[in-house]
Amino acid sequence: MDRRKMLALLGISPALVADSPAYARTAPKAVPQDSSAGGNGLITVMNPAIPGKLADRVPLVPPLNGLQDKLIYMINLSWEGPDAANYFYGAMTEWLDKHYSGIKTVVKVTAEGMFGGDPAILKEMIANKADAAIVGVAG
């Protein structure tokens, strides 16, 4: 007779005589009562998330009414180096010169790359009465 069937007829669980400790494992002890666990089996836990402070909103300054005769600064942030943005800004300058009479462009590479500031460039833009700026190129 199959051993399992025989044991079952005797009312003995086969697990009690099984070789594998996994079969013979006793029932787990009851978990100590946690006050966080309700009688309905639901659990209350603490929240790890922290609310973020939203940034104060700052409106954009009014846009230009056109590009004719404007002074545009192109700011090169040296994203992984200055070369790519310089190529790009050079082509942009050519395009603008072709399409807008009197437009002037100035390309500036920032002193501290993309991470720092460059007060000298800002000062120069104010002194030269720049009309707009293009910042980049990241990617």
Binding site: G38, P48, I50, P59, F88, L122, A130, A132
Partner: protein, 446 residues
Amino acid sequence: MGRWAKQIEMQCKIPAIGIASSNIVHYATGYNFKYNNGMPIRYVSVPFPFTGQPRAVDVGYVAGKDMLTGQPLMTAVINALTSPLTAEEKVSGTPPEEAVEPRFLPADSEENLRRMFDDKEWTDFNSIILPTEKRVIEMLKGTSHKPDKVVTTVNITGGARQLTVEKVAINAVMAGATPEHLPVILALATQAPFGNSTSSMANMVVISGPIRNRLKFNCGTNAMGPYNKSNAVVGRAFTLMSKTAGDLRNNVNAWETLGNTMQYNNMCYGENEEALPEGWDPLHVQMGFKPTDNVLTVGTGWSSIASVGASQSIYPTHFLMRDYMSSFCASGSAATIVMDPTVAGLLKDTHGFSTKAQLSEWFSQNVQKTAASYWGNGVIQSTAVPLALQGLEPYASWRKLPDDALIKPFTNSRAIHVVVAGGKVQTMWFVTDFGIRRGVLIDDWM
């Protein structure tokens, strides 16, 4: 970039637009705008990658399309500079507070709570211990500090989130720590969050001082492997609190393109101080701490290269280490070498390095790489090129060198750290590009 454009708008009172690839624009106009910048900067988008392309490609982008609108790129530029402001672009002032995060989450089944923690990306997607109040209260017994004390303000991508002792304790429970670990994890919390960069950064956490033995941190065999509870839970806690306090979520404000598998445990291990050769000070003592101080040190970098190195006396260990270090970008002159005590012993007894500092100095003097290899690294392009353009040495001179000229990029030997760990089973070592920060006194968080 948004910060730059905002500065120009505010200080020069002129319109400023940004140009970037679309993944950066997505972040800039989303998370960064909401929590950091607050100014709805207008963007035009170029294809990615932008850098590293032949000149013709970057020039060609000008004649191409804006990746955001599909318009010709220059039309998009002109529109961004000239089109009237929308009502949204005129909004000013302090926005209403974001919904307050409740201290407790609504009661739910264990299964649902686990799913929610994963859905919110509060976990590392391994199972966590759910932070019931009872468990958190028990955890807080590990420190004398009040639960509402602010450990640090996490602002890596904005939001200025205040990481309190209680929040750290919640994360410690989630990581599987015990109250005895809490002071270590609080010290670690002062350094949160971990590196988060498109360049896929990683961290290293080194435990120093008597607490290593008291909490049974593994400093010996398998110091960096998954064989020890303290190493495992403290390292993991850094990940969990960085994610929860930094609100780091994939493709929202966590943009590591490859990610880094070291972020699961952050290379947490103890220095094998007992096995240091005579004259080689423990890491924290090198920083000016007392040998009896308990200190935690965090390093940040990207990678490690491993080797076994004692078999060839003709080409000894430190030569191999030197060669491998030349693969690193040497940003900030940073490197950290982790070596088995047998290697440290060889370097001292056979090769005459009587202190760690001597070995660091030797690396500084002997690691070389070509100028082309140095400048070819994107991190160096972003950080050292601006220094060169300002005329700062040695970067300005290095930039003028021919591609095949050799330079010594590790200019500061004090940024090259040596840590001894391991079980004397093999003459094994890792050279890493991790920059080590100043250590933090764990004793302050008891």
